[in-house]
């Protein structure tokens, strides 16, 4: 894995560090950029092995970047999108408050401008949504959409 050298990739590397430090995720459950799963890996089974609603996998990648002529007044932005996937117990009811608290904590970490320094860009907004609680699996998984599936994602000022 090569370290980023442009503002966008440097910032993405920082996002990786920030999410890796979130309790319930950790470096082993963060995926940055393209991820080719091996035949032996079953992502949904990996999620199901986690503690309900308080642990998860976070994957993200740069979706959009901007280069513009320097005299333009509009502030250029770029966007990082991804998803947070947590386990839920499909056989018992849940208000999902714990899952939402967990996801909101991740978003608050990502949007905190004091977490970014030097060449890293500053975050602008981080809308996200609960995309789906998938119950076709053994234990169920909740997918929080940070822009991977639709609108949303982490927008930065260049």
């Amino acid at each position: 894995m090569a370290a980023g050298t442009k503002q966008e990739t440097i910032t993405a590397d920082r996002v990786n560090v920030l999410v890796s430090a979130v309790a319930g995720i950790g470096a082993s459950r963060v995926q940055q950029g393209y991820k080719r799963w091996t035949d032996a890996q079953n992502f949904e089974s990996l999620v199901q092995a986690l503690t309900d609603e308080t642990q998860g996998y976070f994957s993200f990648w740069i979706r959009r970047a901007t280069r513009q002529e320097s005299l333009q007044e509009k502030q250029p932005t770029f966007q990082i999108v991804g998803e947070l996937v947590v386990a839920v117990d499909k056989d018992n009811s849940s208000d999902l408050n714990s899952a939402w608290d967990f996801a909101l904590g991740v978003a608050e970490t990502l949007i905190d401008s004091t977490n970014y320094t030097g060449e890293q860009a500053l975050p602008m907004e981080c809308p996200f949504s609960l995309y789906e609680v998938r119950v076709v699996e053994d234990r169920g998984i909740a997918i929080f959409d940070f822009g991977a599936y639709g609108n949303g994602g982490l927008t930065f000022f260049n």
């Binding site: 995926q31 950029g33 393209y34 991820k35 080719r36 799963w37 890996q41 079953n42 992502f43 949904e44 089974s45 994957s59 993200f60 990648w61 979706r63 999108v81 998803e83 499909k90 056989d91 119950v135 076709v136 699996e137 053994d138 234990r139 169920g140 959409d145 822009g147 991977a148 599936y149 639709g150």
Partner: protein
């Protein structure tokens, strides 16, 4: 042709012995309970790759026909023998029951289960 079509309702009702003669051994887990060994007729598998956002996922959909038998017996049709998310393991592959609606078909003693195995191929592809 379904198991029900092949053996008829009366023989299907005899269930376990018939299933043993016709079927494969599978392990079935209802609502997260410990798996029980059943006999089932294994249908064809349909494989598709779907992309949701930047997530490329392979889905394998397979049908299983499960006659009522020991560990899978229900006293009335009102009892719930299967529900979405129940797992069925066959040939070292774990399938999940997709939905309720297709649970009962082909007569009242044979359950026609549509199951899915989902596997991510890659993420971050667009």
């Amino acid at each position: 042709m379904s198991l029900y079509d092949e053996i008829g309702k009366a023989k299907a009702a005899a269930s376990f012995a018939v299933a043993g003669a016709f079927g494969e051994t599978v392990s079935f887990s209802h609502r997260g309970a410990a798996g029980v060994t059943l006999k089932a007729k294994v249908g064809a598998e349909r494989i598709a790759s779907v992309e949701e956002g930047g997530i490329l996922t392979q889905t394998r959909v397979r049908t299983f026909e499960v006659p009522v038998q020991d560990n899978f017996a229900v006293t009335t049709d009102d009892t719930e023998p299967v529900c979405p998310g129940d797992t069925l393991t066959w040939d070292s592959k774990v399938y999940s029951v997709m939905r309720d609606g297709i649970g009962k078909a082909k007569g009242d003693r044979v359950y026609f289960l549509q199951c899915v195995q989902r596997k991510r191929l890659a993420s971050g592809v667009r």
